[in-house]
């Protein structure tokens, strides 16, 4: 499985990426929404995109909207991974097209549970 990890923090890209790699994912990082869209336009189609909200250039909500408006990217599962934890913000993200929502800070177990909900937990990873 392939994942695109989109966060302006290099540390957070490494943290999220390493958790996903432990679950067997091939991970590609991107520093903002625009860079992530460029990756998709290159033809790299991941199973999952983990998307931070607050980023320069193009924020996570704009990225989610852009992906959802393009039928070519319909198969990409979108998970917001963000510090935005107010209910109204979660509703905004889900309304824009995010499939799941995870609030920072989080644990590897929480990520595993979210992947299982999305049906994106490789079979060899036990719950």
């Amino acid at each position: 499985m392939r994942a695109l990890v989109i966060d302006d923090s290099r540390a957070m890209r490494r943290i999220v990426g390493s958790i996903l790699e432990d679950f067997g994912y091939e991970v590609r990082p991107a520093g903002d929404g625009r860079e992530a869209l460029d990756v998709l336009e290159e033809g790299y189609l991941p199973d999952l995109a983990c998307v931070d909200w607050n980023m320069p250039v193009m924020d996570g909500l704009q990225f989610v909207s852009a992906v959802r408006s393009n039928p070519a990217y319909r198969s990409v599962a979108l998970m917001m991974v963000t510090t935005e934890s107010e209910t109204s913000q979660i509703v905004r993200a889900l309304a824009a097209g995010a499939h799941e929502y995870m609030i920072k800070p989080f644990t590897a177990d929480a990520m595993r549970d979210k992947l299982a909900l999305l049906g994106l937990l490789p079979q060899e990873v036990s719950l």
Partner: protein
Amino acid sequence: MSDLLSSPAQQPITEMLDAATVQSIADDVWTSLVGDGEVLVPLPVPAPEVTVSAWVQITGRWCGAVVVTCDEATAVALTECLLRARPPAVIEQEDVDDALGELANVLGGNVKSLLPELSSLGLPQTGPIPPASRPEDLCRVDAQWRGQSLTITVQGATPAPHTERNEVPQ
């Protein structure tokens, strides 16, 4: 900068949260991001002479910043912990700024969620500590991590009339 300034009469942060709440948020952040078994002990030790700070601005009905301050060596150690799974061969200043900024970002996001009205969070910044406003509009946790001083402050922005002298550094 005008959107980062507090009104002269904004409700003090201490009426919305206390140090114990900030400590509780920090406990979660430390366990999840810094590492299992890593504890931010709420016992102050003498502050270092030279410090580094990272912060995020909160803008809304309450305007201010959430600031993390420690010495350089502690910032590097925190960076190594955050990057524990795949550390680069050499930790560069950019890595330290990024890691300390992300800690401030996660702390700030959780503080923001406790404010009574929806607010917005700025991107992390690092540099000299931004000026605080009134002492009553400041919530401070003085703690230690691995025996070294680490301070988290939630501080109101400087009121508008004083901004020419007290702009938040970029």
